[in-house]
Symmetry: C2
Subunit: 243 residues, 2 copies
DNA sequence: GGACTATAATTGGTTGAACCATTGAAATCA
DNA sequence: TGATTTCAATGGTTCAACCAATTATAGTCC
């Protein structure tokens, strides 16, 4: 219990040492967004490893979302603008593997979505509001055109925009991840029209205009709870069909 | 706006095709946790690529948290028990890079922590409660012994245990990620005694015993808000010092 | 017989040299 | 000037080795 708690010694592989060094430079700002690393051949020399080993290091940083590798004469390894792509991909993997189930997804969406709506009310800029209004208008157009797939995409985008308006990157990334999982879910159960979403969006916009956080939170919560019932029922249905 | 929206054609790299195939097998359960893939040499043959290319694919799956590579005669690539390591690492990277700032971290902790406490009350098992009680006892012992570093670790563990009691893997992983970021934060500003944490823990345990979700949520929220003020003040202090 | 020990086989880790494919800029030509 | 060609740099891929860790196995000693 209170023992010294030794950590496994874990013989570090060469590529790990390299990623660690590069991460270090990132942390202390000696490498920053947009910078270009030397070429693979050059870096391999500097680190004193073969090009193959160096490539494994770059590959792992690419997967982690820290680098972007471009081909060609002016190509190379560039420090990426920090999006949470790796986080989104990671949660998406867990969903696909069944470690996260639809009921977990819907529950998390309710929790996060409600707070996002509340915060967005308090922190939204005029530009945020404008983007959200445009999104709802687009959704309406797609709805009228009967393009369910497109409407779904626009709906995901709404949540993403709202999260950005909340001005907290943790919530932004998490929302994007939840939407990505929802995308998988919806693709599996099929697109279905949700007649209560559009009216809810309009009430939400009204709350955002008036910066009424409580109203926005309430509206979002009730909408997501209806969506939850809708989605989980749909899921049970397709599950039975599969049998 | 409503144009056909072409997607970039993106010449797929060989290793991406491989990871995609393996992910596919994972999704449709033809590969499951604990399974061992054939050896690298064998896989390279099957995919018709060189061993180096195959290794980049395995490496990227390893970084994504899907595989674990073991050396030796009985080694190989094993399908990992799905933990959210990649997600934790990804958010951790974003924090280190400054894309997530301490105020975002503390805010997210309040939002998530409060809901986790509420859900944990409703869903905790007797075993969960026991583990949490043991954790608090340990924290008290470390506190008396004056071991701040160890006490901090035990405190992170408390949140992790509580999240597991809430029985939603999204919240579990997110909590782990938030704690990892907190760990970085605390290491940067230095360990400081928080006299109000231990009493709060006891009140929280009482709420958990009685399954009083509202009381637990309230207690957690107020504790985390105090911690937020404490942490952000500490952060400003060390920031000034750095100048 | 049973515990220890050398040995061999298997696996991931690493190396180095070579060639391909893409990209963009410099050189060339009309 | 402007379009075209050429060329050099870069990441992507291949091949053929060898190293290092790990474990099953056969052998050895008591």
């Amino acid at each position: 219990m209170s023992s010294p708690a030794f950590r496994p010694v874990a013989t570090r592989r060469a590529f790990e040492e390299i990623t660690s060094q590069i991460r270090g430079h990132l942390a202390r700002q000696s490498l920053k967004t947009g910078d270009r690393l030397p070429s693979e051949r050059n870096l391999a020399d500097q680190f004193g490893v073969s090009r193959n080993t160096l490539r494994e290091a770059l590959r792992s940083l690419e997967i982690a979302g820290l680098l972007e590798l471009k081909k060609g004469a002016t190509g190379g390894a560039f420090i990426r603008e920090g999006g949470g792509d790796a986080v989104v991909a990671g949660l998406s993997d867990l969903y696909r593997l069944g470690n996260i189930r639809p009921e977990h997804l819907t529950e998390a969406r309710i929790l996060i979505g409600t707070e996002v709506a509340r915060l967005a009310c308090a922190r939204r800029t005029a530009a945020d509001l404008k983007a959200l209004e445009a999104n709802v208008a687009e959704a309406e157009a797609a709805s009228k055109a009967g393009d369910l797939g497109r409407r779904a995409e626009i709906h995901y985008e709404f949540h993403s925009l709202l999260a950005r308006a909340a001005k907290n990157p943790v919530l932004t990334i998490l929302t994007d991840a939840l939407m990505e999982m929802t995308r998988h879910f919806v693709e599996a159960v099929g697109y279905q029209p949700n007649p209560y979403v559009m009216p809810s969006r309009k009430r939400l916009l009204a709350a955002l205009r008036g910066k009424d956080g409580e109203a926005a939170a309430k509206e979002m919560a009730s909408m997501l709870k209806r969506l939850q019932r809708f989605h989980l029922a749909l899921y049970e249905e397709t599950r039975e069909k599969r049998k």
